[in-house]
Symmetry: none
Subunit: 237 residues, 4 copies
DNA sequence: TATGAATGAGTGTTCATTCAT
DNA sequence: GATGAATGAACACTCATTCAT
């Protein structure tokens, strides 16, 4: 019951759409048209740096070097553009972050993933800020995000399950739950650092923070820092 | 008492106004006036449940049973009201969450704090959602929140330092940094669960999640689970 | 036909009153009441320095040390107060400016009158600015002012007629018309100097300007600088 | 050409903005746009007949056959439109009034200028009323007007200086000062007659008033009425 | 007599969206 | 495909005025 990402549809004013399949403006047929469409998305993504709420449609078209009316040849409204932008970004993210988990070097594996995560987050901080800004009020964005997070969680759990199989992990732990928590920690640190410009955080180099995070992952997961197999039986297993 | 969460600490990033004590409309002189003012704040806090952006001023006055113009007798604009609301909430939070840290029962202490935190977060989820929604674009809110988070961090660190003194903590740890991470984890879990209605989270009872979080705190901090026994009987077990 | 001071009644919005005898709020019966009323008028007169349009009723009451509601115990609205203020001022002016015209010393007489006029104008520049500001749109003020100007003209003409009788004035002159023009000159100089802070005027000492004005009066009226009687027949006439 | 009436001359008194070229909404690129802009200005100019304060923005757009929002495509606010209107009018005025000063026929020259002045004033009385209404409170308008008046004064003085060279003028006169006074007289007469509908003035035909004014200019300047005869026959009369 | 809370009509301004060219 | 003029609903905010205390 806790999960209701589609609940909470705003009542008054600028409400969100009924969440059907994106209809309206079809993909432009010409090459030029598709290019213009891209330019609009790019312009929007950049402007979102200053907050979704602060980017008017005319700001977007202007940044794209177009007139106001042009927008509607390509998008129904700003929300459609935004959702598309976010969907794309989340897909990229899922692909980009992937890094093989080497059970023999858990800490190095975690560090690697975390670094990649931060790298992506920083590069896309404008859009990731939008996700947070909109998720409370836009049901579709909330749903998009929910799905993305679950996919991440699942992948993490799958990775870690191999670790369990290898016997390096605390058995008394609800694995999925811990992954959720630790992923939350990482994500929120990135949000605070890259989107909120360090609000509430101590001013340390990113590398140091990354290390601290990795430590907590390791200890939280109950992984040994240098796996038992290696330590006790360098040859065996 | 030394830690005032609302203390004016300069934040990083996009600074703006000097943010002194809100001047504008002074406190109403009559009891009735003060009551009306309260009513407006209460009404706003409730409406914010559906998103800050969706609560118009007339919605607020209407919910408070007043005409539109009345608002401006008490507040300069919606932002002033909101800031005041948030400041108040953060102050309350700081007081409410406090719970003595018993070094002999670290896990129980962490559990207790976490439970209280969640209790408060859930009760004030509308405003806490506003904080997140606004922090990206409203520099004053960002500053308020920054200060509040730092105050929390400091208090946590102070609590834990006693643990260190007693020798129960990993020495190789950057204490403040770890506290920051773990606090982030807890905060974000609450945000996802109470504000985003569980978006991205598995559907477990709150108590179970709280336990998982506490485990991670303990292991992340390098605290022994039952230090008391250890301390009095270093050889035993 | 040129004279239509009561024409031009504004149509939309904040129109003027139907120009009846000031009804409503009667003179307060107590001493204290009358004093408060005075205070309001004084406060208004002062605030009008920054323009009639910029003085809100609450500004006036505040300046008088009263609450907003108090205003309406003493005046129907701001226009009533203003009209009363203007009427009073014009009456004072008429009395204050009076100075005997000595036919044997026309230039000295003109100088004297002009000096007094300027003295009064400067002291009451706030209200005299209001007269100009309102005359275009407030028919009652226009009428008040029209009457005041005519009274002045008449008195000037009467003074000068004695000069004519003494044979010192150009016969080919329409006396009333010339007086009108010269009075206009003086009035407008004062307006520009005291109300518009010298807009469009060269920056000379008031005394010098006064002299220049007197010269023009004298020459414009065709008065000898030292009257013929004195010059040719010091004893006679 | 040296005298630009709109030249940025620092005014005295309550200075405000730098008053550079109005940026804001740029000139519309299409013919239709420019036409609409013109229509708005024309509509405003007409409505100002009933007083600046009584012309709301919707009145203006309505009179121009447009919706309310259209206004802001062309102007920042009513003040910008008004300033532009006034600037334009003052420039036109400066050009229109020009009439060659014939030293051999001073009175005819003065009459001619005065007639033209009145003609222009009457045709633009709505805007000229606005100038007076606003100059007290709008620093930019005050500055505009100040500059325009100075340009006029300067031109008058230059005209008259030729008279001096020919020896027809009172030497004891501060020329610029007298010009200022006489210009004030003429301007104020026009204001009273055309804007205030004759308030305070006797009801004479315009031609008669014009003659009286010219007489005063001539005598005030110390110009002979028929200098030509005098000049060629210095001994005569 | 005075207070100040409350009203509500009025107005300026913004901005997504449509549409003729 | 693109323009930019035009719309109009939405909203914030002001201020004279009323009224219970």
């Amino acid at each position: 019951m806790a999960q209701q990402p589609t609940a909470e549809r705003p009542t008054s004013g600028q409400a969100t759409e009924p969440a059907g399949a994106e209809p309206a403006a079809p993909m432009p047929s010409t090459e030029k048209g598709r290019d213009t469409r891209r330019r609009l998305m790019k312009a929007a993504a950049q402007l979102y740096e200053k907050g979704y709420a602060n980017a008017r449609i005319t700001d977007i078209t202007e940044a794209a070097g177009l007139s106001a009316g042009a927008f509607y040849r390509y998008f129904e409204d700003r929300q459609q553009l935004t959702r598309e932008l976010l969907r794309e970004m989340m897909d990229e993210m899922y692909v980009f972050i992937r890094s093989p988990f080497d059970e023999t070097q858990p800490i190095r594996s975690v560090l690697e993933s975390t670094r990649k995560y931060f790298e992506f987050y920083e590069a896309h901080r404008a859009l990731l800020g939008v996700v947070v800004e909109l998720s409370q009020t836009d049901a579709e964005v909330a749903q998009l995000w929910d799905a993305a997070k679950r996919a991440f969680n699942d992948r993490i759990v799958r990775s870690l399950e191999r670790g369990i199989a290898a016997g390096q992990m605390r058995g008394d732990l609800d694995l999925a739950l811990a992954a959720e928590m630790l992923r939350s920690m990482t994500e929120y640190y990135a949000f605070q650092r890259f989107v909120l410009n360090g609000s509430g955080l101590s001013d340390v180099p990113l590398e140091q923070a990354t290390n601290a995070i990795a430590e907590i992952w390791i200890s939280g997961m109950g992984l040994d820092r240098e796996p038992a197999t290696k330590r006790t039986a360098p040859s065996g297993a």
